[in-house]
Symmetry: C2
Subunit: 218 residues, 2 copies
DNA sequence: TATCTTTTCAACCATCTAGTTAGACCAAAT
DNA sequence: ATTTGGTCTAACTAGATGGTTGAAAAGATA
């Protein structure tokens, strides 16, 4: 394959995955129509099969891509942080940005979880594991240092990820509700991506921070 | 209609809705097969159409039922509580029980949110509103009394509901993960329904509690 | 220009599925 | 015994959908 051809392949492939992400997020695996994805990507259906494969291959590519991106961004941000609090903060802020800006991230993950991870390929599971570890280690470290209370790290993870994904995925419902009931419009229901991250970080850190600092464990 | 007939209607109808709840939770709206629901309910497909209606009517009935049950239970529990902290605690514990024991609750809600509430009938929206108010008022009251910090009540709601639904819906993935990696089995990933409620309540209350009590607002 | 490879397309098909229909069944009322 | 009203069923249909294919276009190479 020439480099020009390779680039073309890369470009179409990426266009298709981007379109597929949106459609899968919007309609779910079963609700998504391959024809619609092709149309949204502006390519013929056969091209899609030629470039990537059948519907399942397409979905696997999409979900692995979404999770890998999120895990990459989050892990980098956590690694760059100084101290446990900042690590948690970075984790939350980047996750908030990821779910807030890449609008398909949260719906795809939520649906996948709702289905019991039926379509989760191992590669995607691994990416989830990276996310879990990044936060788990930061919390364990903080507890070790006596900065955090001895909380259940997994529950904290659920809390962060749950609130951020829910808030992001909720948006259409909130908006519709605001349109239908303009009189009870509530500004606190419409925060910017960064405001959401800050609000969650504030709550989570308050939840786990050790306010009666004793000597660190050992 | 005779009372016997009425009872028969009630019974089949309920059986169908129960079966439909499971299938919709498991497969989602588009993934669910009407034939499968009928089979799961042990009735002929035509009976299902006779008793309830088409697939959409079935789904509307299911989601409204699920949300109404949850809202009912939660509202009763909150009303019975004394003081803001206890209201929050009751809210969380009952919600945890509802999502933890009625295993289809969380998946159905998560999918609905992921789809942007496309299939949410007004009746279901109202039930969601009741849930939101129950918590919102309790938090506002606590802030008013200076017991809670001036937090964003909606974000707290996202946090509670997000973590509980995520934890509940997660269960199959956690279990599969534990089976595949028995060496890193983590007890904190497998809490009982009540333990989950307590853990979340502990975290949330720590997050919003006012640790430097000043004079109440006014 | 001729040739070869990669990429795109429109039309097609086998299968699946939501929804319908015509009638069987059954209990109670006459 | 027969009618009546409600409940249920097997079998069917019309339409949609995932996936395929053979040919044509585009582009590189020589």
């Amino acid at each position: 394959m020439t480099t020009a051809a390779k680039q073309a392949h890369e470009a179409t492939s990426s266009t298709i995955l981007e379109a597929a992400s949106k459609v899968f997020a919007d309609k779910g695996y079963d609700g998504a129509r391959v024809d619609e994805i092709a149309r949204a990507a502006g390519v013929n259906k056969a091209t899609l099969y030629y470039q990537i494969g059948d519907k399942e291959a397409l979905y696997h590519a999409v979900i692995t891509r979404v999770l890998a991106r999120t895990a990459d961004e989050v892990c980098i941000a956590v690694a760059e942080a100084n101290g446990c609090e900042e690590k948690i903060r970075h984790f939350i802020n980047i996750f908030a940005r990821q779910t807030g800006n890449m609008r398909y991230t949260a719906p795809i993950m939520l649906r996948e979880i709702a289905s019991g991870g039926r379509n989760l390929p191992q590669s995607a599971m691994n990416e989830m594991g990276r996310l879990l570890s990044a936060l788990g280690e930061s919390i364990a470290e903080g507890i070790q240092q006596g900065l955090f209370r001895p909380v259940n790290g997994f529950m904290v993870h659920m809390m962060i990820v749950g609130s951020l994904m829910l808030y992001s995925a909720n948006e259409p419902i909130r908006r519709r509700n605001a349109e239908n009931n303009p009189e009870i419009h509530n500004a606190s229901h419409f925060l910017s991506t960064d405001e959401v991250g800050d609000a969650v970080a504030d709550l989570v850190l308050a939840a786990i921070r050790n306010n009666e600092p004793t000597q660190p464990n050992q």
